[in-house]
């Protein structure tokens, strides 16, 4: 029983990471109706942004690993990733906005390959160790909790839960209660009508890319705290899993992406723990096929009618 609960904690932590990345896929799909396959690589750039900014930011916050230091690195990585995301859209996708959607999709694959290979050139192909920005240790669970005290919850995991929860609430507030959020929703509902109503499409699309990329950057730092070994190809697999999560939850649907991410994380932990780790990826991608066959709109997505 303890083992099962522990697997749930493990899965929830990994799933939160998928959720953060899946949100970026889903938001971009919402406004532009295409899959930004370079999104997983933005996650990788977030980790490297942390690697390069950590030494000076930690010094600024008093030296060694600390909570304010970690927060500063997290914010810096989110900011850098937001800028990168906006630049990618401006340089690569915007010139193609009126072209067939397939053209943009193929460009996205090109951008992804470019970031991976330029990353190997700039950062080196070898895995690098990520600096300790906060000490990841197991938290003591008091004896008074009985059998539950055998559970292990690490600082890194707690941080992942906390930051993910906070970012999800923040995102919901932005989308629901700000003018830009309203513009985003309007754009995803009907781009032509939105621009006729005076919505500045370019600004809203840039904002969406910035927001999604910042979340990926946060995921990059949260992952690197727990798994302090980063390399330029670390975004490929995790990006694909997050994409599956976005489709599972219903692509274009924000709560759906969060739900999908957490479900994929839990599924992975249980497959690895109780079935066979070799089947982990097969089962996750099997879920993608299954959901596309049974409910293509995803768990929370509404079926979209093609207008003729």
């Amino acid at each position: 029983m303890i083992e099962f609960l522990q697997q749930l904690i493990n899965g929830l932590a990994q799933g939160s990471i998928y959720a953060l990345i899946a949100l970026g896929y889903t938001m971009v799909f919402g406004v532009l109706r295409f899959i930004n396959f370079a999104h997983g690589d933005v996650f990788m750039l977030g980790a490297f942004a942390g690697l390069y900014t950590a030494p000076s930011l930690l010094k600024l916050c008093g030296g060694g690993p600390s909570f304010p230091g970690a927060a500063a690195v997290l914010l810096a990585a989110m900011l850098i990733c937001a800028v990168i995301g906006i630049l990618i859209e401006k340089l690569c996708y915007r010139p193609l906005r009126d072209r067939p959607r397939l053209t943009v999709l193929i460009t996205a694959i090109g951008v992804s390959l470019f970031l991976e290979n330029a990353g190997q050139y700039a950062f080196g192909a070898d895995p690098q160790s990520f600096p300790e920005i906060i000490t990841d240790r197991a938290l003591e669970i008091p004896e008074s909790w009985g059998a539950l005290s055998a559970l292990t919850l690490t600082v890194g995991q707690l941080l992942v839960f906390g930051v993910t929860f906070f970012l999800l609430i923040g995102l919901r507030a932005i989308v629901r209660h700000t003018r830009t959020g309203m513009a985003m929703r309007a754009l995803s509902f009907n781009p032509v009508a939105a621009s006729l109503m005076g919505v500045n499409t370019d600004v809203v699309i840039s904002f969406t890319f910035g927001l999604g990329s910042a979340l990926a950057g946060a995921a990059g730092i949260l992952t690197s705290i727990q798994q302090p070994s980063i390399d330029p190809l670390m975004g490929i697999n995790i990006g694909l899993k997050a994409f599956v999560a976005a489709v599972l939850g219903g692509i274009g649907n924000i709560p759906g992406a969060a739900l999908g991410g957490i479900l994929i994380g839990l599924l992975e932990a249980l497959v690895v723990g109780y079935i066979n780790p070799s089947y982990r990826d097969a089962i996750v991608f099997g879920v993608l096929i299954l959901i596309l066959l049974v409910k293509p709109s995803g768990l929370l997505g509404k079926p979209e009618r093609e207008k003729v």
Binding site: Q226, L233, A269
Partner: protein, 375 residues
């Protein structure tokens, strides 16, 4: 037709250009291919430094057969496809009499068929996969092979009195699967119990699910025959989950980033390896001193193996009395009780080295010698 003619002219021209190596008959050309740059550069750099030191020493002592050895080194950039190309170049252009290399089994497997076809002896310093020397009778290795390493660690675990072991294998690496297979075989045949058999793939970063399952089985130790990049993360996450038992592994653990990533998580763990700079035999101390003087660093096992591979080749040329490839091959095959830095090396009929392994432990931010295990 015009193209054919220009090809013929080009061919004739190359015949006219004198081969620079043929002119220097005072030297014996020896080829070396290694990963000097790219992903496995730390392996290649080490073995190359060792080889270089050996050749320098041989030449300082007057060379072999009255001639100096000329080491021609090519970088395969850690890339698949490169070893085949550069070994072809070494054989056809540089006319090397023998080839030394590679560390990684996959690279050695690429170059071996080419050496075999051209009947040029190849000695790999550190490829432990059994398939490498199975390519043909011109392919040799001076390190032990995976089955031996797996068995050594099983013996060691038993000698520590551990009864219950969990195994965590990298299913993407033949190396890891091979070590695990022979570890399990020996350990269970002698009354031990494998309480969990968990798996992961190269490139994985999150091992908490596997480790949670292993923790529930309460093993005395965990055998992780993987490569250093993943092992470091596994160790870190195991300690976080409260798994305090020793971890066991093989020579794949030795890598630059192992302790940088793992920190103190690996303290008290053990792994098998080819060589230890801490071993107090006079030969080892002498080698470590010379290596430090030349390269300014302490040699690791790849450096020691690179050194031994060049020494064994030089010794074989001396015994053959010629660089004729068939006679040289026979001389290498006849290597017995060569007193190398990595132990007493005898090549068996399958052209593999039968030699001892050393077991190292991790502590104080480095590796410490524990014991030598004879085959």
């Amino acid at each position: 037709m015009a193209m054919l003619r220009s090809l013929l002219v080009a061919g004739a021209l190359t015949l006219l250009i004198p081969n620079p190596n043929a002119a220097a008959a005072e030297e014996i050309p020896i080829g070396e291919y290694a990963s000097l740059t790219g992903g496995s550069a730390s392996f290649g750099q080490s073995s190359h430094k060792g080889t270089e030191l050996a050749v320098e020493e041989i030449n300082a002592a007057g060379g072999v057969l009255g001639k100096k050895l000329k080491l021609i080194t090519e970088d395969d950039q850690s890339q698949a496809g490169q070893p085949a190309t550069i070994v072809r170049k070494l054989i056809s252009q540089d006319k090397v009499v023998a080839v030394l290399g590679e560390v990684a089994s996959s690279k050695s497997l690429e170059a071996a068929p080419i050496c075999q076809q051209n009947k040029i002896p190849m000695i790999t310093p550190a490829s432990t996969n059994p398939k490498v020397t199975e390519v043909g009778d011109y392919i040799f290795r001076i390190c032990f092979i995976d089955p031996f390493q797996g068995t050594v660690m099983a013996k060691f675990a038993r000698s520590k009195g551990w009864k219950k072991i969990a195994v965590l294998t990298d299913v993407k690496q033949d190396y890891s699967v091979g070590l695990a297979e022979f570890f399990v075989k020996d350990f269970t045949a002698n009354g031990g119990e494998i309480v969990r058999d968990q798996k992961y793939s190269t490139g994985d970063k999150d091992f908490k699910p596997q480790l949670t399952s292993i923790k529930a089985a309460r093993p005395d130790a965990i055998f992780i025959p993987g490569y250093y990049a993943e092992v470091a993360l596994i160790a870190k996450q195991a300690r976080l989950l409260g798994l305090k038992v020793p971890l066991l592994g093989g020579d794949g653990w030795v890598g630059d980033s192992l302790l940088k990533v793992a920190g103190h998580s690996l303290d008290g763990s053990f792994f098998s390896c080819h060589f230890s700079a801490d071993e107090q035999s006079p030969d080892t101390r002498n080698f470590v001193a010379k290596f430090k003087a030349k390269h300014g660093e302490i040699p690791d096992d790849m450096a020691a193996l690179g050194y031994d591979s060049a020494m064994i080749l030089a010794d074989a040329i001396r015994r053959a009395g010629t660089t004729d490839s068939a006679k040289l091959r026979d001389a290498i095959a006849a290597t017995t009780h060569h007193d190398g830095i990595t132990g007493n090396i005898t090549l068996d009929s399958a052209r593999n080295a039968s030699k001892p392994a050393v077991i190292l432990t991790v502590g104080n931010g480095g590796f410490q010698f524990v014991e030598t295990v004879a085959p």
